[in-house]
Subunit: 524 residues, 2 copies
């Protein structure tokens, strides 16, 4: 998040004293100025205009909120929200000046996109640079996201956007080839395949520096689940050592280093639930390229409540990923998988960690869908190795898992990152729980990914590690009336109640006759 | 801004104490909760999610900001920004409860619009209701505005939107016919024709209850300029008396009563500088219909730096206004006028008030362009009177002006609203000034409306009533090198300096040869 030096020729009105205002405005810089502040009155700032704040040889842009309470900011002070204050890197009371901001240089390009025009590589570079430097307001960000979504970027534009996003952040270089990664476009609860694929690939000797995100709207991200087993917040220098020694890691990727513009865009995409193909491709590929990956295995689950709901849609998305990856010099292998239901039994950090360890331990009660999917993905990943014959990957992966070498590798990685105590036979589940039971006899013919994620989330996951949903039956199972379908765990009575109300609205399970079971779109 | 009663069956967590947080968030409801607040921790609110605040039998939606400073809100308090606090109508310390908000019911329709679909009348009603009730976040508002802009609403949709916007607010009924109004789509500095057209029409006996806006991004709105001469903030009951007695008024229309959704939409349209035809039509017509007008005279200025830049564009806009007005039962007469330069000499409240009074006084030095345009508009307005023959309006209007009856009517209206002392021969201009001079000999062949508005605004208008720009030459004038083109007035040294720097970047005047003068698009 760079702060550019001020131009020397500009007017410098009398300085104000900076004050950190302890309000978390979620990645929007906000400046607070007292209504009776002499500078506010003299400058006649326009409502909602951005202001430029200068201090310590840096300058940042912020939205202006006017304050009438001297306890928040005094008339000679300039308040800044937490993020904004941090960007200037000074102490409370430091002198600062403020003026109306010039609009970001890329605003004309934004307006052309709103008007439905095609943008050039230079346009995207300008927009992405301004976004990464926090020069866009939330309103401008939303306008960009919606304009790109509605007009549908063409595939060249998606490449320009991805490339621009990869260029503005930090770029890693592992000085080795291949550097492999896997990624799922998301939307399927459970589905912790990375925690199986990485140890298998690393045990095979491939360089697999996997960094993951924490959950934003889902009940757990890979980083949240891994955190049950080991430390995931690791300084980059240490992470590099771990990867050199163990050929892999499973760490939290931080929020903004690798593709800072993506991080800012997400702040409006998430609340809008907008996830257009172009933006998804740019978000994922910019981060992979910036992270130094040379090969990417991409998982696109398809199902009636998955992000991608039909095979033709999955194929279009696959081709877009392939086109843009190709232009960016990243080798990609796309797998279209079964996204009709959660993968594994647990939803929530502790429950998912239990599933992963059960598979690594080759426990006969381990969820077989998680094992099978992970082996298929790992097999395809191993085939990035030029020495592995096409088609041999799966068998090699299975051998690494069955022999205990994957478990040993996982333990080595956990040790290196900082082991946490966890007994998969007695997982530390949240103390409160209730069961959701079948209202009639029947076969499970549908499980709603979205509703189960919502229930797990309301129950407290991922914040409460032991909260979530434990599925007792999956698609195709025959159940009798009154038999429990799943168990919900929560730490607080209020959370339990929220989850219970959500279950009453819809428990997410559809029972019917076996022949009504939704067909699998594809073998994966 | 209605607050709906809470449903009886919902969970009621332990109450918090309400606290007014004196931060002006410009029409976005913001709730401030301490990070260590028990309810915040237990509920696991999602970043950027909306919360529902219940108190005093009402409920409102707000965006959540997390606070780490007990001086802003304590752990047992719930802070609300000024607007949000006012909506609940309670005192500091009142008990309130908070929970995660259900998304607004119209969000699926918003997503269909983002995806480029055509919406129904019911869709627009749902969206506009949610917007008027402050249920949309800034991000959702922006998404709606951009999606409507990029996809271009068809004319039926513009009607649905206008009608929905007129329906959600207060509606006036004057129990008389016709009720006339005039409106300019804006963008031309000066141009204070309403302050001449209203007294002329009222002197003729037409009911002309004109309410106007204050400037948001321009250097003066009609309400700002009228405020130099008389009080413009008048309770509705008194306004009604004035209109009954004098047949007209020139008052401030308030911000939100008549079309509350428009007021909210403007909060994102302005900073984005988005003003699509559909949104412009819906904004203007919804307010006119809600204000009880039966006849509307609409002014569309055309020019290279006006809002509308070509004759075909003006004609398309005219037809859209005519179609939607017709569907809403509002008679409309559209005038396409010369928008190549400011109308009148002054830009800024005091300078414009001077121009208006000069015209009303029939002063020979009065700006003739303002007089002529006002007479043409007033003439067309008078022809809404069934007793006036088509073509006779202009002569009647001129007679009313020349005879002093318009001046007398204006004085009566000013007296009734609350006269302020003002001498147009010695207008109270701001004390600091500089002149911008011709850099060479030549004829004025272009005046940039946008740049002159910007300069007047930077000089302090409309906040500083006496600040602004006084034009000494208009299009077609021959000037010599060093001769002043206009004078800039400001009250503060910093403002003067900002305006001077803007003039240095571009003074807004183009000099050339007489034959290069941009042609007038239309006779108005």
């Amino acid at each position: 998040m760079p702060a550019t030096p001020p131009k020397s020729s500009e007017t410098q009105p009398a300085p104000l004293k900076l004050r950190r205002v302890a309000i978390d405005t979620y990645r929007e810089n906000v400046a607070y100025l007292h209504r009776d502040c002499a500078i506010y009155r003299a400058e006649g700032f326009q409502a909602l205009s951005k202001v430029e704040v200068r201090a310590n040889g840096r300058r940042i842009l912020a939205s202006l909120n006017v304050v009438d309470d001297g306890c928040i900011v005094a008339v000679d002070e300039l308040g800044l929200s937490e993020d904004a204050f941090a960007l200037l890197g000074v102490a409370d009371g430091h002198p600062a000046s403020i003026s109306q901001a010039e609009p970001p240089a890329s605003i004309p390009a934004l307006h052309r996109k709103i008007a439905g025009e095609r943008l050039t590589r230079e346009d995207f570079r300008g927009i992405v640079r301004d976004i990464a430097e926090h020069r866009y307001s939330k309103i401008e960000l939303t306008a960009f996201v919606v304009a790109c979504n509605q007009g549908e970027l063409d595939r060249e534009e998606v490449y320009f956007l991805s490339d621009a996003m990869a260029m503005v952040g930090r770029r890693l270089d592992w000085h080795e080839h291949p550097v492999v990664d896997k990624h799922c476009i998301g939307g399927i609860p459970g589905n912790r395949t990375s925690m199986l694929v990485v140890p298998i690939a690393a045990a095979h000797g491939m360089l697999c520096p996997k960094t993951s995100s924490r959950a934003i709207t889902s009940p757990a991200g890979t980083a949240d689940t891994m955190e049950v087993l080991a430390n995931v917040e690791i300084p980059f220098a240490r992470l590099e050592e771990i990867v050199r020694e163990h050929r892999g890691c499973l760490a939290w990727g931080g929020t903004s280093d690798l593709s800072p513009a993506d991080d800012v865009l997400i702040s409006v995409e998430r609340p809008l639930s907008i996830d257009s193909p172009g933006q998804m491709v740019a978000s994922i590929l910019s981060k992979k390229v910036a992270a130094g990956s040379t090969h990417l295995l991409l998982d696109i689950p398809v199902g009636p409540t998955a992000k991608v709901r039909s095979m033709p849609e999955a194929q279009r998305l696959r081709k877009l990923f392939e086109f843009v990856s190709g232009r960016m010099g990243l080798a990609i292998d796309v797998l279209i998988s079964d996204g009709r239901q959660p993968v594994g039994n647990g939803i929530g950090p502790v429950l998912e960690a239990r599933d992963v360890l059960q598979v690594l331990q080759n426990d006969p009660a381990a969820p077989q869908d998680l094992r099978q999917k992970s082996l298929r993905l790992a097999g395809r990943m191993l085939e990035f190795d030029p020495d592995v014959r096409g088609g041999d990957g799966y068998a090699i992966a299975r051998d690494i898992l069955d022999s205990g070498r994957a478990l040993a590798k996982m333990h080595a990685i956990m040790q290196a990152q900082g082991l946490r105590s966890f007994d998969w036979r007695q997982p530390p589940l949240a103390p409160l729980s209730f069961e959701v039971c079948a209202p009639q006899d029947g076969v499970v013919i549908g499980i709603d990914n979205l509703q189960l994620a919502r229930i797990a989330r309301l129950a407290g996951a991922p914040k409460v590690q032991g909260a979530g949903v434990d599925l007792l039956h999956k698609l195709g199972a025959a159940v009798s009336q009154g038999q429990p379908l799943y168990r919900v765990y929560a730490a607080y009575a209020a959370d339990l109640e929220f989850a219970r109300q959500a279950c009453l609205r819809s428990n997410g399970f559809t029972l019917g006759r076996a022949e009504e079971l939704a067909p699998l779109f594809v073998e994966c």
